[in-house]
Symmetry: none
Subunit: 208 residues, 4 copies
Amino acid sequence: MGVAERRERERQARKETLLQAARAVLLEKGVRGTTTKEIAERCELSEATLFFYFKNKDEILLSLIFESIDFWAKGLDALSEQSHSREQMLDEIWRFHERVYREHPDYYVISTYLAQPHVLENVSKDVKEEIARLSGQNFQRLSKLLARDADAASGRVMADAIWAAFLGLTIMNAARKNLGHTEASQGRPSRAKVFETLKAGLLRRGSR
Amino acid sequence: MGVAERRERERQARKETLLQAARAVLLEKGVRGTTTKEIAERCELSEATLFFYFKNKDEILLSLIFESIDFWAKGLDALSEQSHSREQMLDEIWRFHERVYREHPDYYVISTYLAQPHVLENVSKDVKEEIARLSGQNFQRLSKLLARDADAASGRVMADAIWAAFLGLTIMNAARKNLGHTEASQGRPSRAKVFETLKAGLLRRGSR
Amino acid sequence: MGVAERRERERQARKETLLQAARAVLLEKGVRGTTTKEIAERCELSEATLFFYFKNKDEILLSLIFESIDFWAKGLDALSEQSHSREQMLDEIWRFHERVYREHPDYYVISTYLAQPHVLENVSKDVKEEIARLSGQNFQRLSKLLARDADAASGRVMADAIWAAFLGLTIMNAARKNLGHTEASQGRPSRAKVFETLKAGLLRRGSR
Amino acid sequence: MGVAERRERERQARKETLLQAARAVLLEKGVRGTTTKEIAERCELSEATLFFYFKNKDEILLSLIFESIDFWAKGLDALSEQSHSREQMLDEIWRFHERVYREHPDYYVISTYLAQPHVLENVSKDVKEEIARLSGQNFQRLSKLLARDADAASGRVMADAIWAAFLGLTIMNAARKNLGHTEASQGRPSRAKVFETLKAGLLRRGSR
DNA sequence: GATGAATGAGCATTCATTCAT
DNA sequence: CATGAATGAATGCTCATTCAT
């Protein structure tokens, strides 16, 4: 009870609204194309207000990064609590991926942005290390799901393989959209088949 | 063989110098971080001169895009003239990919940029279609290499799979570098094993 | 003696707290570098509260100005109650100066700020005149101390001389600090000798 | 003797125009009140153009600082070539000072600004040292003029005394103007008498 | 051909101030 | 009383692009 709690809740809600807007702009315009002005406008707030909630433009980006890492962590943990055959597990991972891509396409976009030079330029070494640590943990989570009985090294390779494939497909999809392809002609069905192909390889490796 | 030809040759040479610089900057700074100023400076030319050779900043980017598409086309054609077993062919494709990544990392970067929104924003529909057409041809080339005897649909899936993996690995690598990973800890050896895993799946699919 | 008085006393206490913070910030950051945000933060109050106690940022500055003028007035009056030879009096004035500089360096800083253009830009003519009047009185106080028997004009010249010297030394000191000089190499000892030099001149003039 | 030289001359002329504007604004508005926008506007140039000639706002300020230091250096050197009695020399120095104050009031203002905190905040340590070195040389020049036969320490004290007086008078004058005093009531005549007072002291010290 | 000069539009960020609660 | 929230107006600076010479 109390005013303070409500205030805090409202504050968090406003921050979330701003982050939502940021996600949307990010998705539409890319990192460098995302301006504080546009984020603010979408919330019908002034730019100055945005800086009341976030110290920096970078802080917004970082919030999104940590959020997406966290989302993945939770999803992977949930998967780890289920018991599946190896193949079922691969299918579940794929379904989770597809769900994320559908519901939070921005999370993939953010992954891609981490690869862009100079995006993390003003971010402190500590924060970078934190990002590296947390995303490393996610890779380990994925790794364990893929190779519970197998060796860690093999698990990591599989985690890399599966993540690379998803990321690659995401980017190809985006590029194709940008070039005018319709979703139908080159979209999800094809992605599923790519995954099947990869799955065959993963099952083979896992069973060695 | 007159003055006009020499002029034209010199003009092309200058353009190539500028493109080289552009590639380097692009690789270091990313699309939005690439400024006409910096490209010009690296060639010890003035910015105004750059605009004498290229109508737009976009035109530079587009030149690079077409160049990289062409490079891939030639490489894939060269591979198609060799006769290999399916597995050998996959290994050759992988080696070609690794070579491109080593010698022309910018070509991968450019592929990624095609996926970035608003990068092609000022590009005419015609040019976009041309890019789509040419890169589509490359996919067909790759597709044929992978599934000479199999059906076209399956070939396309395999081409997608292989390209997605390449692209995904490239991006993961870049992200890891940005986050402070050393090349050694997460670099090429791991990439090779990822490819092996994928290869197992591709061979299975191809032989069905 | 009721609630109203206590209220008023508390109000004055709060104002004093804020003014103290303002003095500190002013000293560290200069007029334009002094922000309402920082003043408030140092008192662990919100910016809005600051504006509850002071109508304006200017009003804070003005309070400080009047405070410093008042401080000088009291000090000079105290000196006027003592009986000294002319030379002793000059030494006392000097000692008072040095004490103010040590204990309230901000008071000198504020004097300097009065010289800065646009600092008084939003201040009403009335208030300006009041400042002029009060600081004029201080000059007269100083003037009388210096030339009790001599003519007023000569006293004013001496007051100007002494004040100019102190102010100038203060500024030179600050500039030297900013440029990296250590306090030791160009500090107080030198100031004392400068004063001695001036004193010789003042004594001569005074005895004419 | 060609185009390049003329270009360079024109460039310097433009820079000088901008510096002139900067001087004027500085004088009217103070350091923090001086905006790149206003400097540019006074030259009927765009802000962007200003940044074509000067890398930074700081670079403009620094140009002015070095310029003023240089101006003093030249003036003091010129004085050192004349042969005067001690008293005549003091009078000459005073006349030079008054001339500078009349013709280049901004040079004094700049001296004052060096004393303001955070004004040199973004300036490299090297540049600060250079400023310190050059202005130190000016003090030595002044010192030598004042005490050619006397010891260096005494010379330095006198240089400090004279410079402090000049600076202090300048500031008092500015403050009085800001407070509404008319030039006539408290201006030059008084300044001259202050100097006479100081001169008496300086002559005494010098002759010890 | 090549370039110095010029610029409009934009961007992240700051600041004094107001107001409802 | 006190404060969280909100903002208009600036500010220093960047960038792609144009144009006269």
